[in-house]
């Protein structure tokens, strides 16, 4: 009987030892990414612009990024930078060629900021220097062109990359993450040309073919830029985000079916040309934003999106849209779109999430 007592006491000690080992609650764990990056270098258009035009009257209006400005208005590039432990990115070039007589605030000369690597600018195309918002597209006789009086710099990606190389000894360090997202403005401009040509009595089939040729050429130029000016210059990790389906954005809602079909086709042509042109390269990670963008529209609840059709900013351009602007529109949930084509900060978070998943699977994060 005594032995049994001893045994029971031993079991008691054992239980105590087990409980003692049960320390610890919830730990965030190691938050350092697997790869230590020196910097995030981003090239692109409004979807990646961290504030190139946040000057003069735009800044005064509480705008500056192509999303709903104010509060936590980080776009995907900013979230990605912080995920990599690199802090907030800054615009490599700022300025506005505003037409003061129209917009009411003075132009600000383009200024380069050393130590800033966020090159993306709203309105930027792949190689063509004149994109949406550029003052050169302003025509006093055409009221539909008045939005261009804002005077966006629209420095194309080719110049963005050239500028980075010029400022950094002609090469990439190999320890940076390079982000590329472009082609939306080439698709939008060529869709507009198609629409204008057809409206003027042109042959739709010919006009559509011309648009496809132009956008495919832009995609081919982007491939060359990635291969010859980014990879060949030493970059080791490049993410290329493909185009969301512009044909499903509010900007094209209610437009002529032929126009919607053309922009849908242009986005696909651009994405396919870039994917096949870059091919499979261990240094390049293509993020399929297109598929997820369409799935967001088809299954908004999965993404906690309350509204995937209306722009949160109403008729206002997202560049000038702030939390103040959207108050009247806020339906109490998360909108997908800030304006006709640009995502809200929440949609940017979803994009950053998609990029992070791709990078983690590649072992880049």
């Amino acid at each position: 009987m005594m032995t049994r007592k001893v045994l029971i006491r031993s079991l008691g000690l054992l239980a105590a030892a087990v409980l003692a080992a049960c320390g610890g609650g919830e730990d965030a764990g190691n938050q350092n990414p697997k790869v230590a990056y020196s910097r995030l270098v981003s090239f692109g258009d409004s979807l990646s612009d961290v504030g190139s035009y946040k000057v003069s009257g735009v800044a005064a209006a509480g705008g500056g990024k192509f999303t709903v400005n104010g509060g936590d208005d980080r776009i995907w590039v900013e979230r990605l930078s912080q995920t990599l432990g690199l802090g907030a990115p800054c615009a490599a070039q700022t300025g506005l060629n505003a037409i003061q007589a129209v917009v009411g605030f003075p132009p600000v000369p383009a200024t380069n900021h050393s130590g800033c690597y966020a090159y993306a600018q709203g309105g930027a195309r792949v190689t063509n220097p004149v994109g949406p918002g550029n003052a050169l597209l302003f025509n006093p006789a055409d009221s539909t062109s008045y939005g261009n009086a804002i005077g966006a710099l629209t420095r194309p990606l080719a110049s963005q990359v050239a500028g980075h190389l010029a400022a950094n000894g002609g090469s990439f360090g190999g320890d940076e993450l390079v982000a590329v997202m472009a082609g939306g403005n080439d698709s939008i401009v060529n869709t507009a040309i198609f629409g204008a040509t057809v409206a003027a009595g042109g042959d739709p089939a010919t006009a559509a073919a011309a648009a496809t040729t132009a956008v495919t050429a832009a995609a081919t130029e982007l491939v060359a830029l990635i291969k010859d000016q980014i990879l060949a210059k030493g970059a080791q990790r490049v993410i290329v985000v493909n185009l969301p389906d512009l044909s499903q954005t509010p900007a094209y809602a209610g437009q002529d079916a032929a126009v919607v079909a053309v922009v849908a086709g242009l986005v696909q042509a651009f994405n396919n040309t870039v994917a096949s042109g870059v091919g499979s390269d261990a240094r390049v990670l293509i993020i399929d934003a297109y598929t997820i963008d369409r799935d967001q529209n088809a299954n908004p609840a999965r993404y906690a999106l309350a509204d995937v059709t209306r722009p949160a900013c109403g008729e206002t351009s997202s560049l000038l849209c702030s939390l103040v602007t959207i108050a009247a529109n806020n339906a109490g949930g998360d909108f997908k779109y800030a304006d006709g084509v640009h995502p809200t900060p929440f949609t940017h978070q979803l994009l950053a999430q998609l990029v992070a998943v791709g990078m983690a699977q590649r072992g880049w994060l």
Partner: protein, 221 residues
């Protein structure tokens, strides 16, 4: 360590006993290694998440200690304790292969068993059924977990609901001599739990672990 010494001392003290093996009133203690292999089938992570965002929990082996009391020559009750298991949590589906974090777990289990054969048989297969308390604690996140749930946000932490479950056991006891034996045991525990993230998201997961243990035991009377 004190515990181990006590057990060894006990073993030495009782080595001279000559009663039949595993009969009514005996205590059987054993120590060994046990692998817990969750057979995971995970739901999708709640919004906002990419389609098909699922998780998997990897197998882990740890030391195990059990004590069984022979109520009759055939019916026994066995209590499982042991050192904590630290399982890796990895992504599945759309996030396959991403190392997300870790969770610690101890699952004390009490089983009622039926042991076939006679007390002094060399081979005694047995079956058991009972209750398990799956206690999850000490979760650990990662840069990847934060990046894939709230990129650029505060570090994501997680919490796994602890659960009561039913366990079923198949085992075999092999006698070495009157006191020493070796034992192999397979336990299946149907278990469904939910992991909650600090982002407000959650993921329901069927773990259904299969435990396989090999142990050396000693009979006290």
């Amino acid at each position: 360590m004190k515990t181990t010494y006590s057990l060894i001392a006990l073993a030495a003290l009782l080595a001279a006993s000559t009663a039949q093996a595993q009969s009514s009133g005996d205590w059987l203690v054993k120590a060994g290694a046990n692998q817990i292999a969750p057979k995971v089938s995970s739901d999708e992570l709640s919004p906002p998440a990419l389609p098909d965002t699922r998780i998997d929990v990897e197998a882990k082996t740890a030391l195990i200690f059990t004590a069984a009391y022979m109520w009759t020559d055939n019916v026994s009750f066995e209590f499982f304790g042991g050192l904590p298991y630290k399982h890796d949590i990895v992504g599945d589906g759309a996030i396959e292969g991403i190392k997300l974090g870790k969770v610690k777990q101890v699952s004390p289990t009490l089983l009622a068993q039926y042991r076939f054969g006679r007390p002094d048989d060399m081979f005694r297969p047995y079956v058991g059924a009972g209750v398990t308390y799956a206690y999850f604690y000490g979760t650990e996140g990662s840069a990847a977990l934060t990046a894939t749930t709230n990129p650029g946000g505060p570090p994501t932490t997680s919490e796994v609901d602890s659960k009561w479950a039913v366990s079923f056991q198949l085992g075999l006891n092999v006698k070495i001599d009157d006191h020493w034996f070796v034992d192999a045991s397979l336990i299946k525990t149907p278990l469904k739990t939910t992991t909650h993230l600090s982002t407000g998201q959650s993921i329901a997961t069927k773990l259904d672990p299969l435990s396989f243990g090999l142990a050396v035991g000693y009979r006290f009377r």
